[in-house]
Amino acid sequence: MLTRITGGDIIDPASSRRGVGDLWIADGRIVDPPAGGHADTTVDASGCIVMAGAIDIHSHIGGGNVNTARLLLPEQHAAHAPRPTATPLSNAGWSTFETGCLYAKMGFTTVVEPAMSPGSALHTHLELADIPIIDKATLAILGNDDFLLSMIRDGASEAMIDDYVGWTVGATRALGVKVINAGAAAAFKENVRTFSLDDVVPWYGVSSRKIVKTLQASVERLGIPHPLHVHCNNLGAAGAADTAAATIAAAEGVPLHLAHLQFYGYGTEGKRKFSSAAARLAEVVNSTPEVTIDIGQVMFGQTVTVSSDVMRQFTARGTASPKKFVIHDGDGNGGGIVPYRYRGDFYGAVQWAVGLELFLLISDPWRVFFTTDHPNGAPFTAYPQLFQLLMDREARNEAAASLPKSALATSALMSIDREYTFEEIAVMTRAAPARLLGLSDRGHLGAGAIADVAVYRKDADVAKMFGRAAYVFKDGDLVVKDGEITHYRWGRALRLNPAPDKAMVRRLEDYHQQHYGLSLDWFTFPDSAIQRENPFGEVACRS
């Protein structure tokens, strides 16, 4: 089966390709133009932009905390407009099924759920397996679990730490490792209410910094392609910019990824002691090449914050709107679910401006990633509007016009002229995420890449253009046409598969028997538990 996408404006930064041309697909892969080849199917992409399928590196799309948010907030999706019928579970609101469909319609073909509790890995993967069309991946959370903290406290060897991290990644079918407010969830169980980078976890006597550095080094030694994914301390607090800057400085030449930097871009200036510190943070990022970040942009409206930063969520419970929440102390991190409405008031406007400033002031699109930290800053369905704000200064000005001037005065946003180009968008949402995650088979349109292709009809209204792709191909299958799903298929969860160390498995077995009265196999699962054909796709570690 040979497919030819013809006449489109091809934008592929990975190969520096830009210009009108053809793209050929055979057997689910991009191929070189066949000599004298005759396409079985030709798709006319004239007047369109052709990019690789987009990759979202940080979106909370499945797992225990996301599902608890669904339980907490049935009213959030009860009012969803009816959607086309005659599709399986087509009318579900905030469901796994809708998640896959809505992402695909925007041209996204791979999405990373960034916060999987290792003990709930099966639950997470069952949800991900029910998300159609797109490929998925997850990051395993470490850094608040007793086993790791005890090892650090007891001066375990690097090899032993690596064996544990490697076992966790392999057993949970993760693509990488995330640390969330390192040590704070454990400290919260000891009634500690604030926790910063150099604070020490009671009982263990190890600092947050030590946990981050331990995991960062282990991820690097194990050859896990994605650098340690860090959710810093003090999220959302005035003055958190100092914490983020200190964490960036702690990278010390070794790759580190900071998640949703917007939520740390706050200074303490002004009469409300809350201001934008984005310019300063952007400068720090610009001068620290080993660091990558994603934004976590805030967009106005109702959402729900879903985070394994249980200490932060506990603190935020008073802001819940509507007034209900769930705070869960887990075996490691746990989580907090707090519904929230971002309003265009002073604080909301500062947050909105901080995100955009970071996008626009961090100069290298290979190191800044496009996220709203769905659903924390905004649902991912707000992406088209966010593309518009990045690519159109007038749209930014128009949006800012209704916001409090006192909030914008704390920010440099209105003085920034930069508008993202299509090439930069393609880097930020395709080529760079693939590189960051170690996914060499996607994020580009070179021969051999899997045929994940998004075709957008050019339109001055960027939000409209990115909101409804003209065509989307997943693994060479046409799945979206004119913004509507045309074909359902099941993607895979991309995972690393480091070989487990047998001694570590025995040690973990003993640990679970001793401390939980249960065998280790209560916490692990075979692939067959997912009950879907080929649920996983393996990604190699760096050798």
Binding site: R70, L71, N91, A92, G93, H123, V326, G334
Partner: protein, 362 residues
């Protein structure tokens, strides 16, 4: 062994599945009640979506109270494993389902290892029988009760007393509880919708919230039904809603009163009942004329059923994935006595394959 019947007549599973599909197609108001694992639930919900049916757990009442705990106001919970390791005070709220009694006994037998206080003090809230909480007879649990006032009133009085407010009826042994709280690092309350009504759960979470103002405390949710809570989780991710959900209007709707399947059957609203469980015991009363499709483990046709399909029991006849209160999440379990009986998921998928529309996701 025959594995399917149309009425009392033995038939092939394929033929029974096709016949069930025809019944579902012609049904005005099909309802599903089930007690099965995650994959059985996924298949049942997918089938309900195809035919516009409503679905519920076979013991939906306790689960509905627990669901309301989440949808109504939320609260603070802790993983069972963390409770085992940290809880220096364990207070059991009312009666707990017997499937959790092993955990209770284990908590009574062990001491916290992640706590400076190396002992665990046990309390029993309400007037329930000690055996109904799972506590061994020899355990030294202290009763906190409020003179037959009921569980909700006892919790309300306990909350008020902890806050230093006056109460009309005092709580027995309150001073002992207050003293334990004074030195406790991580008190934990065990609760279930099985033995606590909505008001009791609200009072409990109010007490937990009050304690967390200055110190730490939490609660362990021990579901009225483990399989039922697993089904609620699967329902939430598949439709956005917990159980007592339906597709009659083409979109998923959640209504804990209207879509109470036992109520729908009793009121004669449903004309077809699909039952998926280990057995056909405890079928809810249904009006005459309401047909029954039973997917149960049986060697004989279910009395009064239009169609019976014999299916295996998850975790026994075939591998399963189900909610596990010991770990507080889903667990994969291998079959303990593998058999050739089809799983409910397989049988439901066969029924769905005879219906039109897009292939279901399960």
């Amino acid at each position: 062994m025959a594995v399917a019947w149309i009425g009392n007549r033995e038939t092939l599973v394929e033929r029974a599945a096709e016949h069930a599909a025809r019944l579902l197609e012609s049904s005005r108001c099909p309802v599903f009640s089930f007690d099965t694992d995650i994959h059985g639930t996924r298949a049942a919900i997918a089938l309900a979506e195809k035919v516009g049916g409503a679905y519920d757990h076979v013991d939906g009442a306790g689960l509905a109270r627990e669901t309301e705990f989440f949808t109504g106001r939320g609260g603070m919970t802790v993983a069972p494993g963390e409770a085992r390791r940290r809880a220096d005070v364990v207070a059991i709220v009312g009666e707990l389902p017997s499937e959790h009694h092993d955990l209770v006994r284990e908590l009574a037998r062990t001491a916290p290892d992640l706590s400076a206080t190396e002992a665990r003090h046990l309390f029993l809230i309400g007037d329930g029988k000690p055996g109904a909480s799972g506590l061994p007879a020899a355990s030294k649990a202290t009763r906190l009760s409020c003179d037959q006032a009921g569980l909700a009133a006892t919790l309300a009085a306990l909350r008020a007393a902890v806050a230093g407010r006056q109460v009309a009826k005092s709580v027995s042994n309150f001073q002992r509880f207050a003293k334990a709280l004074e030195i406790a690092r991580f008190p934990v309350f065990l609760f279930s919708g099985h033995g606590a009504d909505g008001l009791a759960l609200e009072m409990l979470q109010g007490l937990v919230a009050d304690l967390n103002r200055k110190s730490r405390a939490s609660s362990v949710h021990l579901p009225a039904s483990e399989s039922g809570w697993g089904s609620s989780l699967a329902s939430a991710w598949m439709t956005g809603f917990p159980m007592r959900c339906g597709f009659a209007r083409g979109v998923p709707e959640f209504d804990p009163w209207r879509l109470d399947v036992a109520r729908m059957l009793g009121a004669g609203e449903a004309d077809l009942h699909v039952r998926i469980a280990a057995s056909a015991d405890r079928l809810p009363p249904r009006r005459s004329g309401t047909r029954l499709v039973a997917l149960v483990k049986t060697a004989t046709p279910v009395g009064g059923a239009a169609i019976t399909i014999a299916v295996g029991v998850p975790g026994i006849d075939h591998d399963s994935v189900a909610y596990c209160a010991r770990t507080g999440t889903l667990r994969a379990a291998a079959a303990t006595a593998a058999s050739e009986m089809p799983s409910a998921a397989l049988a439901l998928g066969m029924i769905a394959s005879h219906l039109g529309g897009v292939r279901t996701p399960c």
